[in-house]
């Protein structure tokens, strides 16, 4: 099935869109052979630098590149301003929701979000009840996945409020584009993204524990070099000029978390952790975890360390909660959500389940707690058999699924052997929250490289593009 999609560069009706005009002029002057060469250069750069990721379930290809397309995705200054307003509002609401959920639970009392959806949710951590993180921030780093349907319709697909990844690709993509096409950046004013690591560092420093004396010591906690996102962990630590630590480097010393250095143990004030909640503290969560720090939750509760993002933030980006985001935004900000949700059927509700089962061929069905494009069904692209099998899973545990209409995600051209060809894209801008909210102008554009495919996840054959926000 082919969906008639809105192309961000060349919509069929209106001709070339304005944000792309300068780029298009440049592109027409280029020799196709030179562009092909540049494409290969880009791959060499990525492989040489070791910008790789691990794919689960594939033995030999333990280190692979995320394919990179050299045609940028371009967003005008105006479009960006609108997006940032919507994102800011949403991020404020997410933090307010988390604070409420772990304290007075007013939104539950008001009946706007069903109580059992929170109470029975694995991402909800009872250990966090009554705990207020330093500076009152729960989710410090957020990646909001946004899709576009038409000139003026943007929707939030997902709020990644736990540990959004991919920001290193945003930075490396830009770096690579600037190396390959320096002249482009002289002709076109693109807003810079490269100060993200400094902003991240400042943002983390601003939410240090109150008791911190002097400059806070910040560290990035990684599960280790075999983790699929290890490159990014190392990259961010390096760019921020902070230590990259593993659980085995840390222990609790005198009521603080400390890292083992060549000169003994040194206190850490802010921990940007890229380890999931359940592995964070074997004394509180999974006892078999070797990735975390025994006792870190006690230090946290005593207010002696900032953990970013806070434990328990997963309750805010859970797919079942997602469907209530319009209510959540309105509840805490007093205004209608600027950025809408994609209409979502909660299969836990009998009416919705009935509808979903009847329209399974038209819908995208996702696991409530899944991520990375695993365990989902894209109805229109699935065979009859696959739909039937999925329907059985759905009936067995309806509350485990949500369904959304198959949207004609906007497309943006990629360079293929036969020239430009449209592919579906989404956008993940990165948001930093401290005493203020900062959004780096740009983000990660993920692109489904297979013609017609709607799945942009890198683990499912998606690629990336540099994302330009024009300074116009």
């Amino acid at each position: 099935m082919r969906l008639a999609a809105f192309d961000e560069m060349l919509p069929e009706v209106s001709g070339l869109r304005k944000p792309y005009s300068a780029y298009d002029r440049w592109l027409k002057e280029q020799d196709p052979a030179r562009l092909t060469e540049k494409m290969q250069d880009a791959e060499r750069v990525f492989r040489k630098t070791g910008i790789t990721f691990a794919v689960y379930g594939e033995q030999e290809a333990s280190e692979r590149l995320i394919p990179f397309d050299i045609v940028p995705r371009i967003i005008s200054g105006n479009e960006w301003r609108r997006l940032t307003q919507g994102i800011e509002q949403r991020v404020q609401a997410l933090n307010a929701f988390l604070d409420d959920i772990y304290h007075r639970q007013e939104i539950l009392r008001a009946g706007r979000v069903p109580r059992e959806l929170v109470a029975k949710n694995e991402a909800f951590l009872p250990e966090m009840i009554g705990v207020r993180p330093p500076a009152g921030v729960y989710t410090h780093i957020i990646g909001v996945d946004i899709v576009r349907i038409s000139e003026n319709e943007f929707y939030v697909l997902e709020d990644n409020a736990r540990t959004p990844s991919g920001v290193s690709y945003m930075l490396e993509n830009r770096e690579t584009m600037m190396q390959l096409f320096p002249e482009l950046f002289q002709q076109i004013k693109v807003r810079p993204v490269e100060n993200y690591p400094q902003l991240l560092r400042q943002s983390l420093a601003a939410v240090r524990p109150q008791s911190t004396k002097g400059t806070p010591t910040i560290a990035v906690l990684t599960p280790g070099s075999y983790n699929s996102a290890y490159f990014e962990h190392a990259f961010l630590a390096d760019q921020m000029g902070v230590q990259l630590v593993e659980g085995q480097d840390l222990r609790v010393v005198d009521g603080h978390v400390a890292m083992r250095t060549t000169e003994g143990y040194k206190q850490i004030d802010v921990l940007y952790r890229r380890v999931d909640d359940s592995f964070l503290d074997p004394l509180t969560f999974r006892p078999d975890s070797a990735l975390g720090v025994p006792g870190i939750m006690d230090v946290y509760r005593a207010g002696n360390i900032t953990i970013a993002n806070a434990p328990g933030t997963g309750i805010a980006d859970d797919k079942a909660i997602y469907s209530y985001m319009p209510e959540i935004v309105e509840f805490y900000t007093g205004r209608k959500a600027i950025l809408g949700n994609i209409p979502t059927w909660r299969c836990s509700e009998a009416d919705s389940l009935k509808y979903v089962l009847e329209h399974i061929h038209e819908l995208v069905i996702k696991e409530v707690h899944g991520s990375g494009g695993y365990g989902m069904l894209v109805g229109p692209a699935a065979t009859k058999r696959e739909c039937q099998d999925f329907a059985k899973k759905l009936q067995a545990k309806p509350s485990n699924y949500i369904a959304q209409p198959t949207l004609a995600l906007s497309t943006c051209p990629i360079l293929t052997e036969k020239g430009l060809s449209p592919r579906h894209v989404d956008l993940r801008p990165y948001v930093l929250v401290s005493d203020r909210i900062q959004i780096v102008p740009g983000g990660l554009t993920r692109v489904a490289l297979k013609e017609g495919s709607l799945v942009v996840n890198s683990s499912q054959g998606g690629g990336t593009k540099d994302t330009w926000v024009l300074d116009d």
């Binding site: 492989r47 040489k48 630098t49 070791g50 280790g224 070099s225 290890y230 190392a234 630590a237 390096d238 230590q243 990259l244 630590v245 593993e246 085995q248 480097d249 890292m259 083992r260 250095t261 060549t262 000169e263 003994g264 040194k266």
Partner: protein
Amino acid sequence: MLLGRTANGLYWMNRYIERAENMARLVDAGLRMALTRTQNASEEWNSVLLSAGADVAFTQKYQDYTAANVADFLLRDTSNPSSTMSAIETARNNARMVRTALTRETWESINEAWMSLKRMLARPIDERDLPSVLDAIKRETALIRGSFYGTMLRNEIFDFSQLGTYVERADNTARILDVKYYVLLPSISWVGSTLDNYQWESILRSVSAHRSYRWVYEADYKPTNIADYLILNVRMPRSLTFCYRFLAEHLKFLGDDYGERHACHATADKTQAMLRAGSIKDIFDAGLHEFLANFIRDNTRLGDEIAQDYKFY
């Protein structure tokens, strides 16, 4: 400030880079001997394996000491943890772990060495290609060393890296000498036979010193001079004295930076003082083999002490 785990990673990264190269050098020397003296080739390959500390593992897998078997085992066999391929893989894993401590050039040179050796050593080496494979290994490690020296800040990161390099190198040189110590003993053949000459050249070749030897000593190989060169010469980059000069220096930097001296400082200083005061005659009088055995033991202890004193684990 440096994590103990990072110091450990840097130390072993450099030990393994050094080892990857030393394996190529040993095979190179063995190949030379086998080409020039065909009768005793298997004996030569045996001593190459002994120098590499891989004889036991080798005999579990092979019966014959042939060039093809030994080269395969020492260069590309990943079941041998010290083979060039295993060593470069371990070095890269360590580099990945300590990536934030390395300059981009250093990381990329290690990553590229790994990629190119992995490609080159993927299939058994054709005997005709062996010399060019050995050259390529030495070239890759030279590139790593070049970008490392050319770009790294001379701080504690540099110090721990150098400690790894020189502990490994001192161990390697001492083992090469110890395997062949008997051909250096004056009592056996004071005037070198042709056979001895080959042996002596082989020793020098395994530390890439067969040419520079002549710049320092007379043209003829003399066992005392060879031993002097590899043990006591201050300027020969693979001699024991040279290694300890740098080990002591980098440990001193660390001690000054951190304002604290440890057991490893005493051990390194003691060995360095012993090498400085010693003459090759004293060493031969007291017994070359005993000297080397003691040295290898103390050198291993130094490595353990460094790990402990700087909280590697």
